[in-house]
């Protein structure tokens, strides 16, 4: 049998042994290809001028992803080398040269990687279509399926994987080259060395690491870049210290409580846990670190997603909005001239926002919610303008009863203001509350229909008050093209240099394009990273667990002989599994949940509809993470249960 045949056969067998790893590499290749597809897709980059920066962002994220996949490949090939060293040693024993064996190992891993890459690229094409559909829908462009094979994306994916594989395999090759037969034959008996050996220093490390963990999380929550960085460093120290010293804590705990230790199947479970941590503390810590990064990137992605979505709607409800603080009667003339000539308008209205008499409602809102205030007064709107604007926007009509006022606010203030029952005084007349509306109404930024909220009052009362600012609002027949938007801004900038008032201009299309581009540049890479991180970490944990099949089989074989019932053995295996997979997920949960909650709270007021949405996002983050994680756990559990538990 030739060397290449032998190596092909080994590669096939290896693919079965390491199916989970293989699937992960295929998925990773698919992700890398799909995201590279974004880099090279002229169609998507042309959607907005702001998308120009996307290739750089994706390539940067890809470099991180390549490092992570590189770690997986390097770790797994090293792991396979140790598991198969006896076999490789036997080849040398029967007369093959080290060089040939190294080539054999190299070739078969390359073959496995090559097959994974081909499958991954095919799957990546489908995934790219999904990304393309999402991106197009962000820009409100209709999606039509068009099969596209990007040579550039393929080339970049090939380059990344070549780097990953060649680096990992050259390391293994060097190791095999310099190994003696007896080293190879005994290589699989070596465990990861215990990094901290002495019991006392372990306990000290344990305590110190917990302190670092608490400090790190606190610093991370402070929301300052420098403290955040220090906090992240502290968390890394915590994770490594914790996992390297934890295995001393568990036996010490049970040593003092023999009754607990010997009750039920605790003994088997706690010992298997402490043995695992004793030998793979560094790996566990690294995986916990990756999980933390996963949860943070996935959660941040979701939070940003929610923020972009709400901001897109909140920034302006009109197709075109111009706000001006100028009192000049002809302040909109320059713009109107351009609009008349270039932009087909369906309906438009110019109106004014008036100054209320005091800060009565602003102060109430400030005392009870998070809000930005721009004015030294509550803002007012004429009921006539309000009714006309509602009609223009297609909102249901609202009537204002005599002697009443209406509140129109951002949706997150709805609940708070519905509870407001005090009258207000405008131009000497007292008005009673007449209801609250909270449709999108350009209240998120300055110069809009109030900031956060506005009071709608009878026309004559508003007109009796001084003007705050003026607004031109239009609904156009088609989305305002980017060029026209830039032209209007140019008019604004020119007026500004003439010493005029700095006007605010929004076009719904431009805002949407900006949000969509931000989404594509921030949210996509975060999800990309999170997916790869989850898969890589879960794979390493799973490979470790599956490689212990022999030990588990011996354990359950013995327990069966000693008279343990099959039902009980199943329970022990399940618990050993549960704890093994829970361990590296607990510290990341403790760190990332408060972090995400704090991040959600740090957004501009009104970006999220309230704490409920924030917690829903945290919940969704955990849901997605655990869904993927659970798939890996189930794969490992079903495969192991079959092979290690004695037949019933």
């Amino acid at each position: 049998m030739t060397l290449s045949k032998l190596s092909m056969r080994n590669a096939r067998r290896q693919a079965q042994d390491y199916l989970v790893y293989f699937v992960t590499i295929v998925m990773a290749a698919a992700l890398v290809y799909a995201f590279n597809g974004l880099v090279f897709s002229q169609e998507l980059l042309a959607l907005s001028s702001m998308m120009e920066a996307m290739p750089v962002v994706i390539v940067l994220a890809s470099i991180l992803v390549v490092c992570i996949i590189g770690w997986l490949v390097q770790y797994t090939t090293g792991f396979m080398l140790s598991r198969r060293s006896r076999e490789l040693g036997t080849y040398i024993l029967i007369g093959l040269e080290n060089r040939q064996v190294a080539r054999l190992f190299f070739l078969e891993n390359l073959a496995v990687g090559g097959v994974a890459l081909v499958l991954g690229t095919l799957a990546g094409n489908l995934l790219f279509q999904a990304l393309r559909a999402v991106t197009l829908s962000l820009f409100h462009v209709p999606y039509t399926f068009s099969f596209s094979f990007s040579l550039g994306a393929l080339g970049l994916t090939l380059l990344y994987f070549a780097l990953i594989y060649l680096f990992a395999l050259f390391r293994c090759r060097r190791r095999i080259h310099t190994m003696k037969i007896c080293d190879l034959i005994n290589f699989d008996r070596q465990n990861e060395d215990e990094v901290i050996k002495k019991g006392r220093s372990r306990k000290r490390t344990f305590v110190v690491s917990i302190v670092f963990g608490v400090l790190g999380t606190t610093l991370l929550l402070m929301g300052n870049l420098l403290t955040g960085l220090v906090g992240a460093a502290f968390i890394i120290v915590f994770l490594y210290g914790f996992f390297l010293s934890f295995s001393s804590g568990v036996p010490a705990y049970y040593e003092k409580r023999p009754g607990k230790k010997y009750s039920g199947c605790q003994l088997l479970i706690f010992r298997s846990l402490s043995a695992k941590l004793g030998t793979m503390g560094v790996v566990m810590a690294t995986i916990a670190l990756l999980f933390t990064a996963t949860l943070i990137s996935e959660g941040s992605g979701m939070l940003f997603n929610a923020m972009f979505e709400s901001r897109s709607g909140q920034t302006t409800c009109y197709d075109l909005f111009i706000g001006s603080g100028s009192q000049d009667e002809g302040r909109f003339d320059g713009y109107l001239e351009y609009i008349d000539a270039h932009i087909p308008v369906r309906e438009a209205r110019q109106y004014r926002i008036y100054q209320g008499e005091n800060l009565q409602l602003t102060e109430y809102v400030k005392a009870n919610a998070n809000v930005y205030t721009d004015y030294d007064y509550d803002t007012l709107m004429r009921a006539g303008d309000y009714a006309a604007l509602r009609a223009m926007l297609g909102y249901p009509a609202v009537t204002l009863e005599p002697g009443q006022y209406l509140i129109h606010c951002m949706s997150y203030l709805d609940g708070l203001l519905t509870g407001y029952d005090r009258p207000i005084t405008v131009a000497g007349q007292t008005l009673k509350p007449g209801g609250v509306r909270s449709e999108s109404f350009t209240q998120y930024l300055w110069d809009g229909n109030g900031r956060g909220f506005i009071l709608v009052v009878p026309d004559e009362l508003a007109e009796a008050r001084p003007v705050s600012h003026s607004i031109y609002a239009a609904m156009t027949q088609a989305p305002v093209p980017e060029a026209d938007y830039h032209a209007l801004r140019a008019i604004r900038d020119e007026q500004d240099t003439r010493g005029g008032w700095y006007d605010t201009i929004f076009s719904k299309a431009a805002v949407q394009a900006e949000q969509a581009s931000s989404y594509a540049m921030i949210v996509f890479p975060l999800y990309y990273l999170a997916l790869v991180l989850t898969m890589v970490s879960a794979t390493i944990l799973t490979i470790h667990q599956l490689s212990e099949a022999g030990r588990f089989r011996r354990q359950f074989g013995l327990l069966g002989k000693l008279g343990m019932e099959a039902r009980e053995m199943k329970r022990v295996l399940r618990r050993q599994f549960a704890i093994y997979y829970t361990m590296p997920a607990v510290p990341p949960l403790l760190i990332s949940v408060p972090f995400l909650a704090a991040l959600g709270g740090a957004f501009d007021p009104g970006s999220l509809s309230g704490p409920g949405q924030r917690w829903a996002i945290v919940g969704a983050t955990l849901g997605v993470f655990f869904f993927i994680y659970l798939i890996y756990i189930l794969m490992a559990y079903t495969s192991l249960k079959r092979s290690v538990l004695p037949a019933e």
């Binding site: 023999p258 009754g259 607990k260 230790k261 010997y262 009750s263 039920g264 199947c265 003994l267 088997l268 010992r271 298997s272 402490s274 043995a275 030990r551 011996r554 354990q555 013995l558 327990l559 069966g560 002989k561 000693l562 008279g563 343990m564 019932e565 099959a566 009980e568 019933e648």
Partner: protein, 252 residues
């Protein structure tokens, strides 16, 4: 205590049947120390597996304390093994991740013993077997002899009525073997343990009070020590082995 009556065990398919045990009958009384000897392939381990309920007989019956093992339903077998049988294996079969104390305590845990008394019971047995000082160590930290003593302790700590030992000295050097055999003798004499030991080593067998010889699945001979000294008994065993043909080289 144990009645083995005409048991037979066949392996293989219809066209190729191997008879591993052929109409074997014997009885073990309470407090006996019995060795089963024979060459490789003579059926020693099959016999032990049948008695230990790990394997089922093809014909015949095995009664332990009057209860027929063959008639026990599958679910009862596990309970039977943990309550009545103690095992000592050639390769110790201790769990690497557990200390010696925990390995011994495992037998009690599986038996759902009161968890607060486990430690005390383990220490008690360990003291009698001379491994009290090693209880906190892991199997890889102690010698083969100590491991095997821990295995013996596990085999009797839960009050099992019959200890089944499969080549217990197989992985030990001569000094450790001697030590272990003396301990097994003590377990038999002072702690009233009934022991059934499979071995192909005449020296080990000479510690038993009775030796059964198997050849090609059949009971070939039986030697009772009676009042003889151990060296004399040893030579008698060697004589039988010479008759059995061919295992002498193994025992010298």
């Amino acid at each position: 205590m144990l009645h083995v009556q005409n048991i037979e065990k066949y392996y293989g398919s219809r066209n190729n049947v191997t008879k591993a045990l052929d109409r074997i009958s014997f009885t073990v009384e309470d407090g006996e120390f019995i060795a089963i000897m024979g060459a490789s392939g003579s059926g020693k381990t099959t016999l032990l597996n049948c008695i230990s309920t790990i394997d089922a007989v093809s014909a015949g019956s095995i009664l332990l304390d009057g209860e027929s093992i063959a008639e026990l339903p599958q679910s009862e077998l596990a309970r039977f093994r943990r309550e009545r049988l103690g095992f000592v294996f050639q390769d110790f079969n201790l769990l690497d991740t557990l200390t010696l104390e925990e390995n011994i305590g495992l037998a009690l845990t599986i038996n759902h013993a009161d968890s607060h008394t486990v430690q005390e019971k383990v220490r008690d047995v360990a003291r009698q077997l001379g491994i009290e000082g090693e209880l906190a160590k892991f199997p890889y930290q102690v010698s083969g002899g100590q491991k095997q003593r821990a295995a013996c302790a596990r085999a009797m700590v839960a009050g099992q009525s019959l200890i089944l030992a499969d080549e217990p000295t197989g992985a030990l050097d001569s000094k450790a073997s001697k030590n272990l055999l003396e301990i097994m003798t003590r377990m038999n004499r002072d702690m009233a343990a009934t022991i059934l030991m499979v071995t192909h080593d005449a020296y080990s067998a000479s510690y038993a009070s009775r030796v059964l010889f198997l050849k090609d699945g059949r009971l070939f001979n039986e030697l009772i020590r009676g009042g003889r000294t151990r060296p004399v008994f040893y030579h008698e065993i060697l004589d039988v082995l010479a008759l059995l043909g061919g295992d002498v080289s193994d025992v010298i």
